[in-house]
Amino acid sequence: MIHNAKKTRNLVFLSFFILLSSAIFFIESLIPVPVPIPGFRWGFSNSIVLIIILLYGPKNAIITVLCKIFLGSMMSGRLFSPGFFMALGGGFVSVLVMSFIYSIKINGLAGISVAGAFSNNLVQLIIASAVFLRSAYVFYFLPYLAVIGTISAAINSLIALEGTKWIQKRNLI
């Protein structure tokens, strides 16, 4: 009975986190892009994905990322647009990279987050280049995306670490 209650509570929290990350993903799409580079995103919903990796493990983080991109894109009316496929590929590879680095347990959360952000940017540009543009010139923007991505990823890791500590202190999960 107690086991079932815990399971239900985890399910509720996980659903809440999926919804929260989808909402952040959607709100980000409404904010005008400060840097007009294809594939640019602040990626603050990634802090929620990091929290899920820390609290629930990689499997649930992958589900969260897929749900976040589908729900967020549906809300913003960008489902199956080029941006959707770029976000889907980038997000999926990013969560795999972050889960792998987390599992080997030699890196800090900032390193995990930065590796996730960079792999996200790289895969987004690969998809844009190979599927839509068929031109390598889009990779010229990779260093710019890497700088912005590193800053936002460092902020995300701080949010995720403090958020996770806050949740654990209150014994919410």
Partner: protein, 128 residues
Amino acid sequence: MTGLKLFRFSDIFIYFLIVLICISVFFFFNGKSGSNIIIVEIDGKESYLFDSSKYGIFEIKAFEEKKMLLEISEEGVRLKESECPLKICLKRGFLGEYPDSIICVPLHAVIRFKGEIERNSKIDVISQ
């Protein structure tokens, strides 16, 4: 999760790898000086060529016959209009020197100056 720190020394390897990839990208594109010829690639094909000294507004038919207006003026080269949904390409402003490019992913378009090593282009007509 217990004991997880924000930073660890081994993170340096991740940053080093990212810097290494970015420097490789930088060197891959640099060292090829540009020209005054503007290339418009649609779906990876060099579909239009323009001379940057011939000013005007030119219509480009991009992916799915959607239109873009390219403006060449004293100030530089920029996209004036585009039928893409987010208009990120319009916000890009003026095109910088090679290898900079204006990119529109939804319309599958790349606009850039021609590099020195690509002088033998298959397109021999420059739009007037």
